[in-house]
Symmetry: C2
Subunit: 224 residues, 2 copies
Amino acid sequence: MTATKRLGAPESKTRVLLLDAAERLLLRYGYAAVTSRRVAAEARLKPQLIHYYFLTMDDLFLEVYRRRAEQGIERFATAIEVHRSLRTVWRFGTDLRWAAFNIELVALANHRKAIRDEIARYARRFREMQLDAITAILEDLGVPPDICPPIVVLLAMTGVTQVMALETALGVTTGHRETMDFVDGWIDKGERDLGAEQERRRDSADVPTPMAFRAGAVSEEGSS
Amino acid sequence: MTATKRLGAPESKTRVLLLDAAERLLLRYGYAAVTSRRVAAEARLKPQLIHYYFLTMDDLFLEVYRRRAEQGIERFATAIEVHRSLRTVWRFGTDLRWAAFNIELVALANHRKAIRDEIARYARRFREMQLDAITAILEDLGVPPDICPPIVVLLAMTGVTQVMALETALGVTTGHRETMDFVDGWIDKGERDLGAEQERRRDSADVPTPMAFRAGAVSEEGSS
DNA sequence: CAGCGTGCTAAGCAGCCGACCAACAATGCT
DNA sequence: AGCATTGTTGGTCGGCTGCTTAGCACGCTG
């Protein structure tokens, strides 16, 4: 009846090559450079293959994004599980590559509804994950949420990395090093001080502490 | 002779109409939507006029950007002169419209060298202005630069507004209100406390205070 | 063996793109 | 009035775009 169009297998090797090529072009030359012919050339394949594996160019974009988004969410989850700390959240956001990817996609999403919706969905999911993590971390540290709201910390962190990514793309990097160092030092100090305070508190009231926070890394303690 | 191409007057009314139309399209649909024919249609003019007033489409983009950039720099200069305070810097960066504009342009600059260079130049200039202002303000407030480096404050401020602009474009606004309020309150408190401290210090040593710091209003301005 | 799904490709469509040119209209200067 | 400058237009060019259709060669299964 509906005579659905013939499509290549999702696990095909060629398909992955096309996605890789598209992503490379997207990062290097911006979304306007991601055309069917250029992607094919980048992958050293014939242009028609794109429409064999993807219904439309929008589908290609979505698939490129989904791959990275899925990977990002997964990585964050495991990273935060291994070492639940502000530093992990910060380090994770500091991936300029990912930030650049995001900026480009948002610009693209500006005039492609289908893509915007998808990106928005992942953005929401990721934000919730980060917020949950930070909330828990700050709570562990004993930071009162009304004085230092988790959402503000989160927005500030991602904001700083984002503006750095944007400026790096422009070749303007003044103050980036200093800012990175400062935040690093700040987190260091904060975690040390508050960690100590929390230790004190734990001695009096017998509140069970999340395992992840006990004396440094989980892996170190359990390794010997 | 070099037989230079005929070009319309820079102060022409039609030219301004074209620039306005281009800017509107840029903000509404992204840079990929800014084509000669579409811009002309948006301005209710003939497409050929674009190449009468601008050598190439890149030139059009550059002119669109320069206008806004020039205006931004000018406004910031006067605003900071009227009321030299952190609040002014913050308020100024909070213009989501400008942030969105920037994001779009950076994405565009990704694959147009001439445009990137121009944007980078303005970005550097603007950053220096902001940094100078913040440095002076913090110094006035008596904040030691090694504890609270101006560059970090600046990057954090612009970063927060930028991430909010990016998310707003996606329709994700969770926590924006809270963050705005928090920063507002923080600046309020900081300026009050440190202002008082500074007052105390001024009593002993007779340092003149910038007039701008004496309780004033930032000129409110509606969007066009 | 025929039949069929799969990966791939040659050829081509309509449409939009930036840019150019020759010509016409309006304006202002002398 | 004559003339030059400035503003505007119709027409067109080669090139790139997303996407389609028809078909090829291969391996699997009946």
